[in-house]
Symmetry: C2
Subunit: 226 residues, 2 copies
């Protein structure tokens, strides 16, 4: 492409926070709390998805939710209203991510010791949250059909750091030029180990498969040490 | 909501770059180049939109495009292929935004002096790009129907810094629970001066209205000084 010129403008602003993340992972593991970090673009359906899966799980296990938002408490409120579980709204002062230090501070305020599952609903953003280990045992990404099948090419790190990618809103596939096979192939070329499940939080398609995956990890990994 | 607890975790990492932005605005204005900054979520349709409007305008005015991406040059390539205009791909090293300093450095590499219109296709992100003045004369936001009508509540700064909000993919309104009137009302409660135009880059609905707005500003504002 002779008409495309490429220049590199680099800057390093991200601090290492992996040690702190490891401490969180270990502490929560030892107290029997499995911690998952849910990331996505704005509007990919995280809140609807979380409401559905919490309602499917809450009779059997104890669940807590930490929601990160710039300034509203809309999502924490919605999920709490629709599921009855306690939630913590974290305002991070306009930052684009949450890191292990912020999670540590939130855990001082939020009593998680009787929780089987702690969910972090990260900020809607495909760039920054991918760069900061939050201390979660698993990273989950929601990637919605209307966003287009090219997103793995454009936001590779997000797809690389996720253990599972849930392709949401598959009930809208007929209305968009989204090649599901191509999208899955692109995800696997970045991250061959990523589990990919097509879902629709609205129609509940695929949610049982996700829950099976989650339970296997919550139980299976009890043999692992963090 | 007794079940929602709110804590504040603040950090300040953003440097002031307004002086540099003012210099860019002034320099480009004096050389007769109108500079627009296009922001949105990932997958809101920026590339399709830009391809369409460039093709509608390129016979009458000279246009250049700077595309910011984390590492690919996919969008710059696509737009260049489909419009024939020259484009500059800026890799910003994984950062979530572009600031006036990065624009200044890009302008050293990119010869804009004969351009009537310079377009910056910002990174797909509703958080960080809103915080940095790029030196553009106008900020344009694409906000797509599948993202949901609550986005102004969750990403208020983005809606506050934009001069015009284009609600894209309105051809998919029948398939989503998106209240167009409510979305417009929410935008105006944050930013009463924002122009809001419903569009579909795919069906071209609304694109003429946007071009009318753009031309009025490019011409009308020739009487203003930057």
């Amino acid at each position: 492409m002779k008409d495309v010129k490429v220049i590199e403008i680099h800057e390093s602003v991200f601090a290492q926070n992996e040690k702190q993340a490891d401490l969180i992972r270990k502490k929560l593991w030892e107290q029997g709390t499995y911690f998952i970090n849910v990331m996505s673009s704005p509007g990919s359906g995280k809140t609807t998805f979380l409401t559905e899966i919490i309602n499917m799980l809450k009779q059997k296990i104890s669940i807590g939710l930490m929601n990160v938002d710039i300034e509203s408490d809309l999502d924490a409120r919605r999920i709490s209203e629709k599921t009855g579980i306690p939630s913590l709204q974290i305002h991070n002062g306009g930052l684009c991510h949450i890191d292990a230090d912020m999670v540590s501070r939130a855990l001082i305020e939020y009593d998680t010791k009787d929780m089987d599952l702690l969910i972090l609903e990260n900020i809607g953003n495909l760039v920054c949250p991918a760069e900061f280990d939050t201390g979660a045992h698993k990273n989950i990404m929601l990637y919605s059909v209307p966003e287009g099948d090219d997103k793995p090419l454009k936001y590779p790190l997000m797809f690389q750091v996720c253990d599972i990618v849930l392709i949401n809103k598959v009930d809208t596939l007929p209305f968009f030029n989204f090649d599901l096979e191509l999208a899955i192939q692109r995800i696997h070329s970045l991250n061959p180990n990523a589990v990919v499940i097509p879902i629709s939080a609205r129609t509940k398609e695929g949610l049982e498969s996700f829950i099976t995956w989650l339970k296997e990890h919550m139980e299976g990994e009890k043999h692992e040490a963090y």
